[in-house]
């Protein structure tokens, strides 16, 4: 007999009789009904969950932090459609991995992704690559709901693939290789249940966001403040409802003479969580002449953070720039982000 199936069956059968009693009621109490009439924008979710630490280790050039919370619903994105993923009765937790550069502490959205396998005493328990995701309190991470076999020590192996994003400045030459690490995760249902679970009855559905969580050991993914971006900020615009900041660099070390750099940093409103995995087109005119018209390249740089950029053959100081969103961020969304950042606006700066 399949143990997971048995537990699932018992959970469903017993749900009404046992409501309010420990893990069997997880499903009903931990997924309040979605807000009705959600705005097409960032909104405050029905609840916020606390988070536990599952482990941390270095994997090649990367640091990896593993955290968990209650299993929860999220939305995957293909194109401009967000598709809801429901909690399964057998799901034990939502497992999250954050990947960062130990030198700069910058969280790295690696679109090459990572693989996670969970084993217990050599037996496979779960094997799937988690989705790249954004959440209001966790920022950018990789996550999915996982079904474990109850309390115990699990070996969680994380492989972070080499980055395919362009790496500039001090990042050039780094993160090209995959790194792998295994951590022991001592899972206890009772510890999970001690995590906070706060309903937000008064503000749920309002435009806004809950705050990013401050974690001791894991950096949070935040794009730099606009004022901290290097070069000249050409402008800031709002889409639906991501924030687009275009900046122009003329003397970065990675540029040759006669070159400038266009950087478009796209981040969530309120929390400045970088939004990776988009397709953007850019156009640059200098002195009335078109000097660039092409796709912008996903790039990381220690001071600009994750952004979409292009080297442009001009040393003009006041270019006029157009940006078209061709595809919105193909990252999965936690509640409160699933209706935002799905449009394909155009801007000029």
């Amino acid at each position: 007999m399949n143990r997971r199936r048995f537990l699932a069956g018992a959970g469903l059968a017993g749900i009404t009789a046992l409501a309010g009693c420990g893990s069997l009621s997880t499903q009903s109490t931990r997924a309040p009904p979605l807000v009705e009439d959600r705005p097409d924008a960032t909104y405050r979710p029905t609840h916020v969950e606390g988070m536990g630490m599952a482990g941390m280790a270095q994997a090649g050039d990367y640091m990896v932090g593993l955290t968990y919370s209650f299993p929860h619903r999220f939305w995957t994105v293909t194109g401009t459609t967000a598709e809801k993923v429901d909690i399964r009765s057998e799901d034990s937790l939502h497992l999250m991995a954050t990947v960062w550069d130990p030198e700069t502490e910058m969280v790295l959205p690696v679109s090459a992704g990572l693989s996670i396998t969970v084993e217990r005493d050599g037996d496979p328990v779960a094997d799937k690559p988690p989705w790249p995701m954004v959440s209001q309190n966790m920022g950018f991470h990789y996550g999915d709901n996982y079904a474990l076999d109850g309390d115990g020590v699990y070996q969680v192996t994380v492989r972070v693939n080499g980055m395919s994003e362009r790496r500039l400045g001090a990042f050039s030459g780094r993160f090209g290789e995959a790194g792998e690490t295994t951590v022991d995760f001592d899972f206890r249902q009772s510890t999970l249940e001690q995590l906070s679970f706060e309903r937000l009855p008064d503000t749920q559905g309002d435009r806004g966001a809950v705050d990013l969580m401050n974690m001791d050991m894991i950096p949070t993914s935040q794009a730099p403040e606009v004022s901290a971006l290097p070069g000249t900020v050409l402008g800031t615009s709002k889409g639906r409802d991501a924030v687009y900041v275009a900046s122009w660099l003329r003397d970065a070390a990675f540029l040759d003479d006669g070159q400038s750099y266009l950087a478009v940093s796209v981040r969530t409103p309120y929390n400045r969580v970088p939004l990776p995995m988009m397709s953007l087109d850019g156009r640059v005119e200098a002195d009335g002449e078109a000097v660039f018209e092409d796709a912008l390249t996903a790039t990381v740089h220690p001071d600009i953070g994750y952004h979409y950029g292009a080297v442009v053959e001009t040393d003009a100081s006041e270019p006029s720039v157009g940006v078209d969103v061709i595809a919105p961020p193909q990252v999965s969304r936690h509640e409160g982000y699933e209706t935002a950042f799905l449009a394909t606006p155009s801007f000029s700066f």
Binding site: N2, G9, G79, T80, P132, N161, S164, A327, Q330
Partner: protein, 422 residues
């Protein structure tokens, strides 16, 4: 509770995976219909070992249909150095015995025997006129182990008794095959270093879905020939046998073979992705938007309709945020034809859902180029599509092992020299 006990029927279905004389005995008990006999005249059989298409059954649309049951034996030559003639003769006799015993067809037995780089190293050179490289990792995100046996035997039939019996007959544990006497075997000549099995065809994946990698909700459709829920191997999406055949040199009429062992993980595929997402990722987003794929895709006829998907995968990925597996593969075509002939099938080896991806091509370079197209690295680097997320079906599979082989022409199939004089 949907507990699935091991019924007699269930057991017979997994007999090929279990293998051995006990599994065969259980199978023989069960079967009744007779298996068509083969030929006493080997010259009536094609010179190409891989000339299966004429012998295969076809489906309703007219696509060649793969045999339902498969056994792969990775074999090592027992002797040191180069093979001796006595061994060649015994291997050839055993294979001719099989051809006498079973019709060269889906109801009978189809097989190939190929040789890896390790085998040709015994001669101090590669096979004459054919580039047969050692296998290598073919994607930045994979880390496969490499198969290095001397030989690879592929047995295929619609009848599980046949693959099991032929295997035992070759191993020398059984004196007859289809009631005809075996006059020789591989015993003491070619020894097994690994055994892999699988199946393809409506019903089999659904019946065998109680494995790691497929969620407990039993999502695999009954009609599906493969675990992922879609039909594959349309005539229009395959290279012809002519195209994958070595054209000249002593190994003319042979072909190169690549075998990878792929682990599938389908929980997200079935429980998180929607039907539209699955169609987008397997075929292309336009197929999903236009509802062009019904059920497992029988309605597609004899090709997957790639003319109706945007051809430029990078541009399409930039706009749609997702790119289809089949769609990406089109860029690897040559003269508008795929460069590889896929003869892959599903597997439950080790209790894990998997796929033995076996393909034939004129040269291993054709496979490498095809796999590069599948990697979609260009799409990932230049668009919202991730390296595995929304990038065809890469998120749901992991290549665990790779191996390369040369399948010589029939006349050279038994322990050939590296430079045969023809």
């Amino acid at each position: 509770m949907t507990g699935r006990g091991i019924s007699r029927r269930e057991f017979a279905k997994s007999a090929v995976a279990i293998g051995g004389t006990a599994a065969l005995a259980a199978c023989l008990d069960r079967g009744s219909a007779s298996v068509p006999e083969g030929t006493d005249d080997p010259s009536t059989l094609p010179e190409r070992q891989h000339a299966w298409n004429d012998a295969l059954a076809t489906d309703d649309a007219g696509n060649p249909r793969m045999p339902r049951h498969h056994v792969l034996l990775l074999l090592d030559y027992a002797g040191d150095g180069t093979p001796i003639d006595a061994h060649r003769e015994r291997v050839e006799t055993a294979l001719r015995d099989l051809e006498r015993a079973y019709e060269w067809s889906t109801e009978g037995l189809l097989f190939t025997l190929g040789y890896g780089p390790a085998y040709f190293e015994r001669f101090g050179s590669g096979p004459a006129g054919v580039d047969l490289p050692e296998p290598e990792a073919l994607a930045p995100f994979e880390d496969p182990a490499f198969d290095t046996p001397d030989a690879l035997l592929h047995l295929a039939s619609d009848d599980e008794r046949v693959v099991l019996e032929a295997e035992e007959a070759l191993k020398g544990t059984r004196e007859t095959a289809n009631d005809r006497e075996m006059t020789a075997s591989f015993d003491g000549i070619l020894t097994e270093s690994d055994r892999r099995t699988g199946f393809i065809g409506a019903g089999l994946p659904a019946d065998n879905q109680d494995v790691e990698g497929v969620p407990d909700s039993e999502p695999v459709p009954e009609e599906s020939p493969l675990f992922m829920g879609f039909k594959s191997g349309f005539k229009g999406n395959q290279a012809t046998e002519d195209r994958v055949t070595v054209a000249s040199g002593p190994f003319a009429d042979g072909t190169t073979q690549h075998l990878s062992k792929i682990r599938l993980q389908l929980q997200q595929w079935y429980e998180q992705d929607s039907r539209d997402q699955r169609v987008s990722k397997m075929f292309c987003p336009a197929h999903a938007a236009e509802d062009r794929v019904e059920g497992v895709g029988e309605n597609l006829g004899t090709d997957s309709g790639m003319d109706e998907c945007p051809e430029d995968a990078v541009e399409s990925g930039r706009r749609n945020g997702v790119v289809g597996h089949s769609q990406k593969m089109v860029s690897a075509r040559e003269d508008d034809s795929p460069r590889i002939l896929r003869r892959d099938f599903d597997s439950t080896d080790g209790g894990q859902a998997g796929l033995h991806f076996l393909s034939l091509q004129g040269s291993i370079a054709d496979f490498v180029a095809t796999r590069e197209a599948m990697n979609g690295t260009d799409v990932a680097e230049n668009s919202a599509v991730g390296q595995r997320v929304n990038n065809g079906i890469l998120q749901y599979m992991n290549v665990e092992r790779r191996g390369n082989y040369l399948v010589p022409p029939r006349s050279l199939r038994s322990l050939p020299p590296a430079s045969p004089s023809k």
